[in-house]
Amino acid sequence: MSSNTLIEAKNLTKEYIRGRKEVVVAVNDVDLEIPRGKLIMVTGPSGSGKSTLLNVLSGLDKPTEGKIIFSDEDISGWEEERLSKFRQENIGFIFQNWELIRTLTALENIESPLYPLKIKSKEIRTRAISLLKQVGLWDKVDNYPDELSGGEQQRIGIARALVGKPKIIFADEPTGNLDVDNAGSVMRLLKSFTKRDTAILVVSHNEELKKYSDKAFRMSNGRFI
């Protein structure tokens, strides 16, 4: 494990039981290293196991076998509350459907991950405003999600993922619901944040997006090919 590696997955396997007995191997013996400050992509057809891989790596789901080593610690066996705290400190998420909270303004959505933390409201606001400016939506500060376009919502989603200063951001189909122009600008925006040593893992069926990544893997039937 090189000193620049942030996450290392070894022999990662995730099986699901479908129906009564049928075993689906969604992720099959995958090895992966994610370095700091790089944008890594995993592409592949529908059902190839991309989302499963991302969920397992981020601690949202448990692997059936294998290790996930994050800063010298294997997080694969951790229990829920410990993983929550771990995610809070190290991980940001970007979702395909943005998943912004509809009753919060753009600015409050960005702030929301920090509310339970021992950080002063003023400090939270300063950070959120700075991010809002970086994603180019300063003029939409008081808008609610319903008053924003899809591209704008996703940029708020990106700012929200970044506000906790995570070491890595996981993004499952971040451009899945966007047109080509918006998809491009979202990817460029994501790429721009790698300059601050934030690693980003993007999972998508869209091969076109590879050009924005530092490294891309292709998945098929639960394996890298």
Binding site: D61, E80, E81, S84, I101, P113
Partner: protein
Amino acid sequence: MGQLKLLTKSIVFSTRSRRRFFTFVAVFAILSGATIILINYFDGFSRQELLDQRGIVLKASAFGTPSPLSLFEAESNSPVGIGINDGQTLAGASKVIFYKYVDFGSTLRIFSMNPSYPWAFSDLKPSNLAKGHFPYSTHQVLVSEDITMTLADAEGGNQIYTKPGLGTLFTLGTAITDPFELKISGIFKKPAVAEADSREWIFLTEKAFTTLIDESHLDFTENEIYIHSITVIAGGDVFLGGTYTEVDRLAAELRPLSQGGSANFNEPLFTPKSEKNELRNMMFLSLIFGLFGTFVVSTLYSYLITRFRRREVAVLKAMGYSKWSVRIVVLSEILVVAITGFAFGLLGIQAFLYLTRSSAYVFNIVFSSTALLSFLAVVLSSVPGFILITTRILGVRPIEIFRQK
């Protein structure tokens, strides 16, 4: 600090979704309104019944005869040496209430009643109330049905009311230094004893009664303030049973007051034991049903709120909110909705009572024990539901929720 910040933020945010907020406030208002009515009924009922079970009434034996029992005599001349004083607590009793009266001029007999225990006055059960409610403030008065009084009106002139209705205002004539205005809050059916009495009966709160005596030019002495009855309320707990022993013991202790040729009091009146047990069981059952009802509705309501916010909960958990942080988010909405809904429910019921003047028991419900009891019932019965529901939703992992589109 973090959790407090989260709580205040969540409280502010929980009112943002207007439609959901008002829908749930309305649901909660109806729920708590129903609970308030129920509890008001049982509270009033139980206070009357409880009092029946706990109260021992000593009626002055000379009442209505030419030599009524005066306050002075009652307090100093108890024949068997049991000194009972107004407001004093007898060993084993939780309260001793004196129902006093003065003869005011030649036509009026004015009684004092304890506003918290109006029906401990033996001739004044709620069933004797024809209209309105018992007085609870110093400016309210209860009058007997078909009363005919010559009363000074607001301008100082005399006016005759053959049948004054609810809400009629009057002042008590020229015999008072600083006449105060009274409003008829209730009308009662005259008991048989009162029929025989030529004077008109009116009832004031204890406080108004004292003021009246102090302000009167008639300079009442302790010998001119008479006792209608004394109600001794036994201590102990009705549900746990201690009361019944106390009632029997106190009754035995008070009985000598009614014996002998010159006895001041009639035989003590109290509810026989078999009836007590039946009543107790009935009250206990209705309490259980009431609490169960609010539990069911409030659990349903927690369930709906968490259902509405399922996806949001999943996002928060993915972002790293701890179970407690998520609980705080959901709890704050439930809290805000519950308190707002309860306030609306309470005001709604108050408006209803005011417009219809229909409750004999509690009229000013906003500041009553009923409101407090209902609030506790609604809040306490929603706690288990809330814990049940949030624990269930918190147990679901975020990816499982995300997967359901």
